[in-house]
Every structure is written in C-alpha cells, then in structure tokens.
Symmetry: C2
Subunit: 279 residues, 2 copies
C-alpha cells in the first residue's frame, strides 16, 4: 500500500480550521530565509498557501547571508513583533550564518523547535509541541493503527530536523530503535534493516533503501528529500520495494504534506497557549 500523505494532511488541516475558525484573532507566521531565496522558494510558497487556506497571517522575509550581525538583528526584530505569533527559519542555514542565530527565537514562537530552550524542553520531556516532521511520521502509524510497541525500527539518518527527535518519540511508543548513520558499514545497515519491522529513512540520498534491504511485510517511511534528474525523490527506491512492503510513504506526497500540516498545528497550539489568546 502506498500511503496518501495529502489526504492525511487535509484531515489535519480541516481539524485545525475547525478549531481556529471561532478564534477572534488568528496566528501569524513569519518565515525567514537567509541567502539565495530560490533554494527555499517552493517551501515558502507551500507554507503561504497553507496559511492562507487556514486564514492565518503570513509574512516571509529574505535577508543577505553576508552580514551575520545584521541577519541576527533582523531576526530579533521579527521575533519581538507583537503581531508575529510564530517564526520559522528555513533550514539548513547557509554556511555564513551560524546556527547560534536560532537562539534569537523565543520558545513560545518556535513551531519548528529550533532554539536551545525548545530543543531542551523537548528532550527533557515537557515540550508542548513535537517537531513537525517527527510528529508527521508518528501520524502515519496512528492513522494506520500500527502499534510501535515491541517493534524494531531501523532509523536511517540522525539529522537535526528529523532523526534526533525521532529517537525519544519512537522509544516512548515502545519501539527498539537502531540508528544507522553515515559511518555505519553498508553490510551492517543491510543486516539491521532486514531485521527490522519498520524502516524510517531521513537522509536525503536517492536510492539508499533498496529491495534487498527490506523484509517482507515491513513498513517503510520515506522522509528523505533530494533532487535526481530534476525530480524530487526520497531515500527509497519505491519501485523495487513496493511489492515486498505492507506500507510505504512516497516522495512526494507522503511525509511532506503532513509535515506542513503539523507545522500549522504547532503554530495554532503555540498561539492558543500564548498570553495573547488568553486575554
């Protein structure tokens, strides 16, 4: 079965709309990118469209990557705006912009969990929200009534936005998690993968997961993203695995749209718990 991520995304967006419709004020998302805007334009357009469909405020800002202190100053100004309820900085940052800039974001305006305090609250187990992509992946299991209790998960990739957040979330659901990263020997990756009930890949390397690495009946979540011959592709060679697996999320149309929906459910949640909403 090829999982329809757009359908689940629409379901989540509908429930956000239903909840927020009656709110006297709506959340307002600011998206900031540094350097060449073209690198991020498709993501930004997608967020704008979603914000508009929900009736949320939306603004995007693009700044030069060549003056770090200016970049920091601009970000700080946006974060402090009363009208802005949530701030997203497009990742990855260009090499000229140090990650420390993300600490300018306030945790109560941080739907992507980028700043230290948000990340710390998450790992200390008392964050109000989960990171959008990791949450989107758990959504797929919930939607399909797939329990993680006692299951073996092979997690490919331990990156900033997905892998590292997934480890505690999967363990909390009762899974046994093996993390395969760039230094894992190919034969170990294959062995672990073949022993696993569930494969989650968030690397960004086309055709990383092939048929000979996948156990019959396994569940495969493809959270990878790269460009191959001008096309957006995931980490999994879908054609070669699709007859072996019980469920796979495709790229595009799988985890991606659900992640956008989850970003906006975080934006709504943060707004709801902000002082502003209570007044």
């Amino acid at each position: 079965m090829i999982f329809d991520g757009k359908q689940l995304a629409n379901k989540i967006l509908d429930s956000i709309k239903k909840e927020t419709n009656s709110w006297p004020q709506k959340p307002n998302l600011a998206v900031i990118s540094f350097g060449d805007e073209k690198n991020n334009s498709s993501y930004i357009v997608q967020k704008r469209k979603t914000a508009e469909s929900l009736g949320f405020g939306f603004n995007d800002y693009n700044y030069s990557k060549d003056d770090f202190s200016k970049a920091r100053e601009y970000l700080n100004k946006i974060v402090k705006m009363e009208s802005v309820s949530a701030v997203v900085v497009q990742m990855p940052l260009p090499a000229e912009i140090n990650n420390s800039i993300l600490n300018v974001i306030l945790p109560e305006k941080d739907p992507d969990l980028l700043c230290d305090r948000s990340v710390g609250a998450f790992f200390n187990g008392h964050s109000l929200i989960n990171p959008p992509t990791a949450e989107a992946i758990l959504d797929v299991f919930k939607e399909e009534n797939i329990s993680l209790l006692g299951k073996k998960v092979a997690l490919f990739g331990y990156g900033r936005l997905v892998g590292r957040f997934l480890v505690p979330m999967l363990i909390k659901e009762g899974a046994t998690v093996a993390v395969i990263d760039k230094d894992t020997p190919k034969e170990d990756a294959k062995h672990i993968s073949l022993c696993s009930d569930i494969i989650i890949s968030a690397v960004g390397e086309a055709n990383l997961i092939k048929s000979d690495m996948v156990k019959d009946g396994s569940v495969v979540i493809d959270a990878g993203f790269s460009i191959l011959d001008g096309n957006i592709v995931g980490d999994v060679d879908l054609e070669s695995v699709k007859d072996k697996i019980s469920l796979i999320t495709p790229v595009p149309g799988g985890v991606g749209p659900i992640t956008v929906a989850r970003l906006f459910s975080n934006v709504a949640k943060l707004f709801k718990y902000s002082t502003k909403f209570k007044n």
Copy 2:
C-alpha cells in the same frame, strides 16, 4: 580485563588540579537535595571530598520536598549567589518536586546539564561541556584506544542522565547505536546484544546482562547502579561475562569515579569561561 575507573579518575583529577592550581579564584560547587537526605548522602560526601581535594569551594543544602514553591525559591537563591559558580541538583527528584524546577539553574552554572537551555545546547551541538556520565564512558574508550568508528553498540537504557545523551555522542564517534529500553522483547535485546561489538548498560537492574548476551571479545561498559542484598551492583553479571569479554568496567570502581571527576572538570570549565574568571 577489568578496567580501573579509580585510576583514570585520579588522572583526570590530577590534570584539573594542575590547571586550576594557578587560578587566583577557585570554582565553588553547591549541591542541592530535596527530601530525605539519606538517599543522596553517599553521593554528596563523595563530591565534598573531591571538591576539598581540588581546593574548590563546596556547600550542600537539603530542603523539604513538601513545599514546591519554597523549594524553587531556595534553589533560585542559591543559583543567583555570586559566590556559587556551579549548581548540582541530586537526581532523581522526589515525586513531589516537578522536574521543571531544574530550569531555575542557569546554563553557565549547570555542570550536569539539567536545565532546558543546557540540554538544548547539547543536542544542538554547541554545548561547552558534555554530561559527566556520558563523557566518563567515552573516556574509557579513549584511555584504551578503542575506536568507535564503524562499531555496533547495544545501549541498554534511554534515561535522562546517561542513555539519551550517549546516542548523539556515540554516533558522532562513528558508532551504529541500537537502543534497548524497557519495552524491548527479551529475545530482541539478546539478539542485538550478541551482534554488538560494544555493550553499554545504564538501566539500574542487577544481572540484566548475562554471559549468553555477550559476544566473545566484546567491550562492556556497566553504568548501572542498584542495591542487591545490601551491596552496590551494576547491570552486568560480571562473574559470568568476565572470561568472554575483552574489557569491562566494574561497579563499583568503574564509570562511577570517572563521572565524579568529569563533573569537576565541567565545574572547572564553566568557571574558566565565566565572566568572573576573565575579570
């Protein structure tokens, strides 16, 4: 080989002493416990002795667990004291004291990485210090010239103070890490453990790791701690595994003393980078 943790701890303490001897001012550690002090007294005594041997300042405080807001107020007062350069709260906290109290600690005075900002800085990859127990475990590998690159590690336990911190540290060193936690079926734990080059256990369950779970020649790090028949014991049945393994850290006398040494190297590092030292 049974690894001598005390010897490595003394080596680390000697190097701290050597560095800090010439400092015009010395760091000052405050240790705070809530509830019955007896639960923590052996740890506190150990820290006091070590502080004295280094010429560092040391104070311990014990407060009632029955008034959370008072407990918070006391902790806040100690953290803000100019004379106090580092604060440790004895974990685990009694059930009456919510973990959120740890956010009163300032990151620049947090050698155990307890508050959100310290934990976030660690997971965001820009912490000045590593958590003492996790650092102590890596120390053992370094001391014995054991490379983690391409090695398979079975990590038993994903707790607040050890397991969760070890995952990124081990991956950074090039290891492939499988996390075994309380929901892992026994047979899976055994299979993963037998396939691993290195076993690290930080659960607190006597005799969790037995001979039939250990591959010949493997390295076993026992970071567990519990009381069995009045004795301090680790997670590993040392007698049953000692003829199979190439190296094991015993309990007591293994990771424990190195952890105390690493706590004090963190205290020294934080003091060194504080404004106070620079003046």
